[in-house]
C-alpha cells in the first residue's frame, strides 16, 4: 500500500517538474498569449471582426515566416536577409506590372521571374556568410541594409534613365525612378491583386470541418502507405504518437465548435478564409517537415549541431550552408509575392524593409530560438504577432487615451523580443561552453590522480 502511494507520489512529482520545465521553456510564448488575451479584452473588438483581420494577416504573412526555418536548422541563426528575398519578389512584381500580365498567369509569371533572382541573391549571401561564420546574423542584417541601398539606387535613380523602362506611367513625374506606390490591380481581373486569395473562399466553420477531414484523411493515407511498404521503424515516422493524439483532439474540437457556430448563426459564419492561400502555406509546411527527413535535411541538422564534426563526417559544409540560404531566400521571394497580392499595392521603397524584423519577431514569439525553429513556432507566432498588431493600437487608446502608445508598444515588442532571444541564446551558449570547460578540467584532474 505504501509502495503504491510512493509510486503515485513519484509520478505526481515527475509531472510537476515536467510542467515547470514546459513553463520555463515556453516562457515567451505563454507571456505573449497572456498579453494578446489582455490586449484583445481591452481593445473592445468583436470576435468576428478580429477573426476576419487575423485570417487575412496570417494567410498573407505565414509563408514569409516559414522561410526562416531552414537556416535555423543549418545553424545559421535567424535570417535577417529574407529582406533580400522580398526584394527579388518585388522586382518580379514590377516586371509583371510592366508586362501587364493579369490574373493568375501574372502571379505565376512573378514567381517564375522572382526565382532566378532569389537564387542568385541567395548564392551571393551564402558565400558571404561562409566568410563570416559565427557572425551570420549581424552580417545578414547589415547586408539587408546595404542591399536596400543598392535597390534604391537601381529603382529610384537608374530605372527610366540608364535602364530603359517602357511604361512611363510607372515612373515618377520627373521621368525616371519608379513611383513610390505601384498599384497591383483592381481585384477584378486587371493585375494580380487578390488572385490567390479569391480562388476558393469558404466560411470559417465550413473550412474548419473540411480541413479537419482532410487532415484525418491525410494522416490515414500516410500510415496506409507506410504499412503497404512495410515500414515500421518509429524514427522515420514524421508525425509521431504525441502529435497524432494532438491532431485527433484538435480535429475533434474543431468539428464540434464549427457545428456549434453554424447552429448559433453568429457573425463568425460570414468570415471567409482564402483557402487556396492557406493551402500554399500548408504545402510549404509539409515541405519543411519532409526536408528534415531527406539527406539534405540531415546535412542541415548535422551542420547545425557541430560544423566541424559535420566536416569530418564528409559533408561539404560551405555548399550545404549556401543551399540552406538559397532555399530561404527563394521562399521569402515567393512569400513577398503572396503578401503583396493580398495587399494589392506595392510600396516600392518600403514594403520590404520591415519584412525580416516582423517575421523574426513573430517566429520568436511563437517559441523559436536562434537554434531551434519549426513549423509550429512559425504558425503560432504568426497568429500571436498579428493579434498583437491588431489589438495594441485599440488597447492603447482605451487604456492610455492614445492609440500611438499602442503602436509604439508593438514596435517595442518586436525589437525587444528579438533582443531578448539573442541574449538568452548567448547566455545559454556561454553556460554550455563553461560546462564543457569544467568537464574537461575534471577529466584532466581524474587522469592526473590516476
Amino acid at each position: 500500500m505504501s509502495d503504491k502511494k510512493m509510486k503515485l507520489k513519484n509520478t505526481f512529482k515527475f509531472d510537476k517538474n515536467e510542467v515547470k520545465k514546459f513553463l520555463v521553456n515556453n516562457m515567451v510564448t505563454i507571456l505573449f498569449i497572456i498579453i494578446c488575451y489582455l490586449g484583445f479584452k481591452f481593445s473592445g473588438l468583436s470576435f468576428h471582426f478580429y477573426l476576419r483581420d487575423i485570417t487575412t494577416r496570417v494567410g498573407r504573412n505565414s509563408f514569409l515566416i516559414l522561410a526562416l526555418i531552414i537556416p535555423v536548422l543549418a545553424g545559421m541563426g535567424l535570417n535577417f536577409a529574407i529582406v533580400i528575398g522580398a526584394m527579388a519578389g518585388q522586382i518580379a512584381l514590377l516586371l509583371v506590372t510592366l508586362f501587364a500580365v493579369d490574373g493568375i498567369l501574372g502571379f505565376l509569371l512573378a514567381i517564375v521571374i522572382a526565382t532566378p533572382f532569389a537564387i542568385l541573391f541567395g548564392y551571393l549571401l551564402g558565400a558571404l556568410l561562409n566568410k563570416t561564420k559565427g557572425q551570420e546574423m549581424i552580417t545578414s542584417l547589415v547586408l539587408s541594409l546595404f542591399a536596400n541601398g543598392v535597390y534604391q539606387f537601381i529603382f529610384l535613380i537608374l530605372v527610366g534613365g540608364i535602364i530603359p523602362w517602357p511604361d512611363p506611367s510607372m515612373l515618377l513625374n520627373r521621368g525616371y525612378g519608379i513611383r513610390n506606390t505601384i498599384g497591383l490591380g483592381d481585384g477584378q481581373g486587371v493585375g494580380i491583386k487578390g488572385v490567390l486569395d479569391s480562388i476558393i473562399n469558404w466560411s470559417v466553420p465550413d473550412a474548419m470541418i473540411i480541413f479537419t477531414i482532410l487532415a484525418f484523411v491525410g494522416v490515414g493515407v500516410y500510415y496506409l502507405i507506410r504499412k503497404s511498404r512495410g515500414i515500421t521503424a518509429v524514427e522515420t515516422d514524421v508525425i509521431g504518437k504525441k502529435n497524432l493524439i494532438l491532431i485527433g483532439m484538435l480535429g475533434f474540437a474543431a468539428i464540434v465548435s464549427a457545428i456549434y457556430t453554424k447552429a448559433t448563426g453568429s457573425p463568425v459564419n460570414n468570415v471567409t478564409i482564402p483557402v487556396f492561400t492557406y493551402g500554399v502555406v500548408a504545402l510549404l509546411c509539409l515541405f519543411t517537415l519532409f526536408i528534415v527527413k531527406t539527406k539534405l535535411g540531415q546535412d542541415f541538422r548535422a551542420i547545425g549541431n557541430d560544423m566541424h564534426v559535420a566536416q569530418v563526417a564528409g559533408i561539404n559544409v560551405e555548399k550545404t550552408r549556401i543551399k540552406a540560404i538559397v532555399l530561404s531566400i527563394v521562399f521569402a521571394s515567393w512569400g513577398q509575392i503572396i503578401f503583396l497580392q493580398n495587399l494589392g499595392n506595392l510600396n516600392t521603397y518600403g514594403a520590404h524593409t520591415q519584412v525580416g524584423m516582423f517575421a523574426i519577431a513573430a517566429i520568436l514569439i511563437g517559441g523559436a530560438s536562434v537554434v531551434k525553429a519549426n513549423v509550429g513556432h512559425a504558425l503560432l507566432g504568426a497568429v500571436l504577432f498579428h493579434t498583437l498588431f491588431i489589438v495594441s493600437p485599440l488597447a492603447g487608446r482605451n487604456l492610455f487615451g492614445d492609440a500611438q502608445i499602442g503602436e509604439y508598444f508593438r514596435a517595442f515588442v518586436a525589437y525587444g523580443v528579438i533582443a531578448l532571444a539573442l541574449v538568452m541564446h548567448a547566455l545559454r551558449k556561454r553556460l554550455q561552453s563553461q560546462d564543457l570547460i569544467r568537464m574537461r578540467e575534471e577529466e584532466e584532474l581524474e587522469e592526473a590522480t590516476d
Partner: protein, 344 residues
C-alpha cells in the same frame, strides 16, 4: 613592397579615397564652389566627430564597435530636453545638458556593459538590438515623460514633438565660437572643431595612461591580461560606460549644430554611420585609435558632402546622398565583418 603598403592602408580606404578624389575633381570641373564644400565638410566633421570617437573605448576594451550607441544618444537628448524645460539658454544650457546627461549615461552604460560581459562573442548583434529596442521603448517614453515646456511638447495632444527647434537655446553655439568666415558666407566652425579635438586629445591621453593601457591589454589579449592581474570584465565595463557617455555628449554637439533635436525614430540607425566612419579611417572590429577617428570622419563626411552637389549637377536627385550614405556605410561594415576573423 607596394603590395604590403597597400595592405597596410587597406583596399577600402584606397577605393573610398579614390572615389572622393574623382568626385572632387568632377566638382571642380562642374564649377561647384569649393569653399562651400570645405565649409560643409568641416561642419559635419565637427558634428559627427564625438559620436565616432565614442567607438574608440568600445573597440579598445574589446566589445567591438558599439552598435548600442542609441543608449547614450537617448541620455544626451534627455539632457537637452531638461535644460529647455528649465528655460536655460546659452553656454550654461549647453554644458548643463552635457553634465546632466553624463550620470544616466554612465549608469545605463554600466548596465549595458554588465550585459555585454555575459554574452561575449555576440556583442555586435545584441548591441544592435539593444539599441533598437531602447529607441522603441523611448518612443513610449517621449509621450509619457512629464516635460511641460510649450517649445518641446505638442500644442494639442500628449507628448514631445518629433523635432524640436533649438533656436535661441543652444543652436550653433559651438559652431559660432571663434568662427572664421571665408569665401561667400562660408565659415570654419572653430569652436566645434576645437571641442572635438579636445575630446580626441583627452581620449589620446587616457589611452596612454595606466588605466588606458590596462584597457588596451584587456581588449587585445584577454587571456594575457587576466594572467597579469587585469580584471578583463571590469575593463570592458569601463569601455562601454565611456562609449555611452561619449554618445550622450556627442548628440548634444550634433544637435546644437543641426539646430534641431530629433526624437522618436531618429536615433535608431545613428550608430551605423559612426561605426562606418571609424572603419573607413582604418579601424577594425578589434583595433582603433584616434587617428582612425579623425581620418575616418573626415573621409566619410567629405564623401557625403561632395557627392550631393555633384549628383545634383548630373541629375536632379535629392535622395542620392542618402543612398550613397546607406551603401558606403553598410558596405564598409560588411567588409570589416569579413575581415574580423582574420584578426583572431
Amino acid at each position: 613592397m607596394i603590395k604590403s603598403r597597400i595592405q597596410s592602408i587597406g583596399w577600402p580606404r584606397i577605393i573610398i579615397f579614390g572615389f572622393l578624389l574623382t568626385l572632387s575633381i568632377t566638382a571642380i570641373g562642374l564649377g561647384i564652389p569649393m569653399d562651400q564644400l570645405l565649409s560643409s565638410t568641416l561642419v559635419r566633421v565637427g558634428m559627427n566627430g564625438i559620436l565616432v570617437l565614442a567607438m574608440v573605448p568600445a573597440i579598445v576594451s574589446g566589445i567591438g564597435p558599439n552598435f548600442g550607441l542609441p543608449l547614450g544618444i537617448i541620455c544626451g537628448l534627455l539632457g537637452v530636453l531638461v535644460t529647455i524645460d528649465l528655460d536655460m539658454s546659452g553656454y550654461s544650457a549647453l554644458f548643463t545638458a552635457m553634465i546632466i546627461s553624463i550620470p544616466p549615461a554612465a549608469i545605463i552604460g554600466a548596465g549595458y556593459g554588465w550585459l555585454l560581459n555575459r554574452i561575449k562573442g555576440s556583442e555586435m548583434m545584441i548591441a544592435t538590438y539593444i539599441g533598437f529596442s531602447s529607441v522603441a521603448l523611448m518612443n513610449i517614453g517621449w509621450i509619457l515623460l512629464p516635460f511641460s515646456s510649450p517649445e518641446t511638447t505638442w500644442p494639442i495632444g500628449r507628448g514631445l514633438r518629433l523635432t524640436i527647434s533649438l533656436e535661441g537655446r543652444i543652436a550653433s553655439l559651438l559652431n559660432d565660437f571663434w568662427k572664421i568666415p571665408f569665401g561667400k558666407n562660408q565659415y570654419i566652425p572653430t569652436g566645434m572643431l576645437l571641442f572635438f579635438l579636445l575630446a580626441c586629445f583627452l581620449m589620446w591621453l587616457f589611452l596612454r595612461s595606466k588605466a588606458g593601457v590596462n584597457m588596451y591589454t584587456a581588449g587585445v589579449n584577454p587571456k594575457f591580461a587576466t594572467s597579469s592581474g587585469i580584471n578583463v570584465d571590469r575593463q570592458r565595463l569601463i569601455g562601454t560606460m565611456m562609449s555611452t557617455v561619449l554618445g550622450a555628449i556627442g548628440i548634444v554637439v550634433y544637435s546644437q549644430s543641426y539646430t534641431f533635436l530629433q526624437l522618436y525614430l531618429a536615433p535608431m540607425y545613428m550608430a551605423f554611420p559612426s561605426v562606418a566612419a571609424i572603419l573607413i579611417g582604418g579601424a577594425s572590429t578589434r583595433k582603433a585609435s584616434i587617428s582612425h577617428v579623425i581620418i575616418g570622419v573626415f573621409l566619410f563626411q567629405a564623401l557625403l558632402v561632395v557627392a550631393l552637389p555633384v549628383a545634383n549637377e548630373i541629375m536632379q536627385e535629392g535622395n542620392l546622398a542618402e543612398i550613397t550614405r546607406i551603401i558606403v556605410s553598410n558596405g564598409i561594415i560588411l567588409y570589416a565583418l569579413t575581415q574580423a576573423r582574420k584578426g583572431d
